[in-house]
């Protein structure tokens, strides 16, 4: 464990050097306990792969208070994997018409398109972090056989619902945005809906599984292949 100053009212707690499930367990546990321990002193908290950023109210407490809170929580952290995270299954229509990079990714991986789909949906992925854009969840780890580097030229417009791979991470674009990940399919379910409760189907610490659906099911579930 290491604590660094991040800013005038922020400390960052490092719980490991790599994003791996053991570290992610500690991130998830520490985030939950720190919220309880610090209560009103905390303005916001950002869990990520191996760190937790704590933004505190400097008119209620100082960084020494927050450090004390962190130490107290860390002393009570258990080594066991917490089974707090839920398992969320998300439908995906994989195809060359829904995933523009599926063919190229399969070719580079020396696999068939069906094998890529099979490998992607066989995995159980952890929500390591949420950020980049509202509702963008970083999921990992993708099987090494289908890991693929980011595109050398990012797209100006990635459609909403695009299911994508970058290195050993996978994600669903919650809204139209620029992006450089490899697109392999589309999810008909909204990943970020300001009018829904909850706003997102997943949170940090949850596990995600993908379930391949047909083109017809995709449309029936409200999916669209228009980029609008």
């Amino acid at each position: 464990m290491r604590i660094e100053v991040a800013g005038e009212n922020a400390l960052i707690l490092y719980l490991g050097e790599h994003g791996e499930p053991g570290v992610a367990n500690r991130v998830e546990q520490a985030s939950r306990l720190l919220k309880q321990e610090l209560g009103e002193k905390l303005i916001d908290l950002v869990p990520s792969y191996a760190s937790v950023l704590l933004i505190f109210d400097m008119f209620r407490c100082d960084h020494l208070d927050v450090r004390r809170g962190i130490r107290k929580v860390m002393a009570n952290l258990s080594d066991e994997s917490s089974e707090q995270g839920r398992i969320v299954t998300l439908p995906v229509y994989y195809g060359t018409d829904s995933g523009e990079d599926l063919e190229q990714l399969a070719r580079n991986a020396k696999l068939t398109i069906d094998e890529v789909i099979q490998i992607h949906q066989a995995g159980e992925y952890r929500v390591y972090a949420i950020g980049f854009a509202p509702g963008f969840a970083y999921l990992g780890d993708v099987d090494e056989r289908i890991a693929a580097p980011r595109l050398s030229t990012p797209r100006q417009r990635v459609p909403r619902g695009a299911v994508a791979i970058a290195d050993r991470q996978t994600a669903i674009y919650p809204a139209v945005s620029p992006g450089g990940w490899n697109l392999i399919g589309r999810c008909p379910q909204r990943m970020f809906d300001p009018d829904a409760q909850p706003t997102m189907p997943v949170e940090v610490g949850d596990r995600v599984r993908f379930e391949a659906i047909s083109r017809n099911d995709f449309f029936e579930l409200g999916g669209s292949l228009d980029d609008a």
């Binding site: 100053v5 950002v46 990520s48 960084h63 854009a133 509202p134 970083y138 997102m200």
Partner: protein, 318 residues
């Protein structure tokens, strides 16, 4: 607090200006779903606009970047304009900033283009009544969240508010008003990956002059000057706080502001004091910056002193 949309009194936007945004103090506690803070880039000028309207300091007002805003009042109330220096007129008559003015239905309020600084704030007595999204009215255009529809003001937009008395105008005495210069000395709390920057790199950053560039917006200000090279190219993505100074491969630092991404993977040498990001955000391209390292304890002291000083400054009746 969510307000009723059906309200019919307020201001009509005749000309929206280059970038006018509805802002309150900001959106907090929503990083968990990837939402950034938004809020006024210059919190001091924003607070004063509200105080001069006898509002609490976090009430919904307008951030007018660069100027060019024309509003038509359909209500009797009071307004105040603070921040960047710009020509302010009501029905064509020049008016003073940093004081509130009585407004009658039919009045036309015009903010010209900024001559010093670039963020002006227009507040109205009681605040604009804008429905909250995720607990705040703050507009973040990158996320299409907040304000009227997630974007900047457009012609014919309607800004609802409640009628207020013409009495009770306030003025901030001149000696308390900030000035907006083309030079600033900005304070930075080293942190995050500071160990990835050698003593030489840190000394270069803190002893050199940097210029503001046109690659600057509400997400962040990119500055240009001597290259700073960290020993790391990238890091595991992690949370980014207000004012964080990230250094991408080209060695030109970016100071991250209100609309920053909540997580990112560039090495950061520390973060700027928010009292000073407010000054930075008032600067146009070509301004000269120098940086000074302070501790987090210094930062807390500076905030408490500022809070204390602001509490004892009383605006005068006018």
């Amino acid at each position: 607090m969510t307000h009723n949309n059906a309200q019919t009194q307020g201001f009509r936007v005749r000309q929206p200006g280059l970038m006018t945004l509805i802002q309150d103090a900001g959106r907090f506690g929503k990083h968990g779903i990837g939402l950034t803070c938004g809020g006024p880039l210059d919190a001091e000028a924003f607070s004063w606009a509200n105080r001069l309207c006898d509002n609490s300091t976090d009430v919904t007002a307008l951030e007018v970047s660069f100027g060019g805003l024309i509003l038509e009042a359909q209500i009797n109330t009071r307004i105040a304009v603070t921040g960047a220096e710009l020509p302010l007129s009501i029905n064509g008559q020049a008016k003073e900033q940093w004081r509130s003015h009585a407004i009658n239905a039919g009045d036309v309020i015009e903010l010209g283009y900024a001559t010093a600084g670039c963020r002006a704030y227009l507040a109205v007595a009681g605040g604009f009544h804008i429905e909250h999204s995720f607990g705040s009215a703050a507009t973040v255009t990158r996320e299409s969240i907040g304000g009227l529809n997630g974007g900047k003001l457009a012609p014919n937009d309607f800004l609802p508010c409640t009628a207020a008395s013409a009495n009770g105008c306030l003025v901030l005495p001149e000696q308390h008003r900030p000035t907006y210069d083309k030079r600033a000395h900005l304070r930075v709390i080293p942190g995050y990956q500071k160990h990835a920057f050698s003593d030489l790199q840190m000394a270069r950053f803190f002893s050199s002059e940097y210029q503001t560039t046109d690659r600057s917006d509400r997400m962040g200000y990119r500055v240009s000057g001597p290259e700073i090279k960290p020993s790391l190219d990238g890091i595991l993505s992690e949370g980014i706080c207000h004012g964080a100074i990230q250094v991408p491969a080209d060695g030109q630092p970016i100071i991250l502001l209100n609309d920053r991404q909540t997580i990112g993977g560039y090495p950061k040498l520390g973060s700027m004091l928010s009292l000073d990001t407010a000054k930075l955000a008032q600067m146009t391209p070509g301004a000269t910056l120098t940086f000074e390292a302070i501790t987090i304890d210094d930062a807390h002291n500076l905030h408490l002193l500022t809070q204390r000083r602001n509490a004892v400054i009383e605006p005068l009746a006018c």
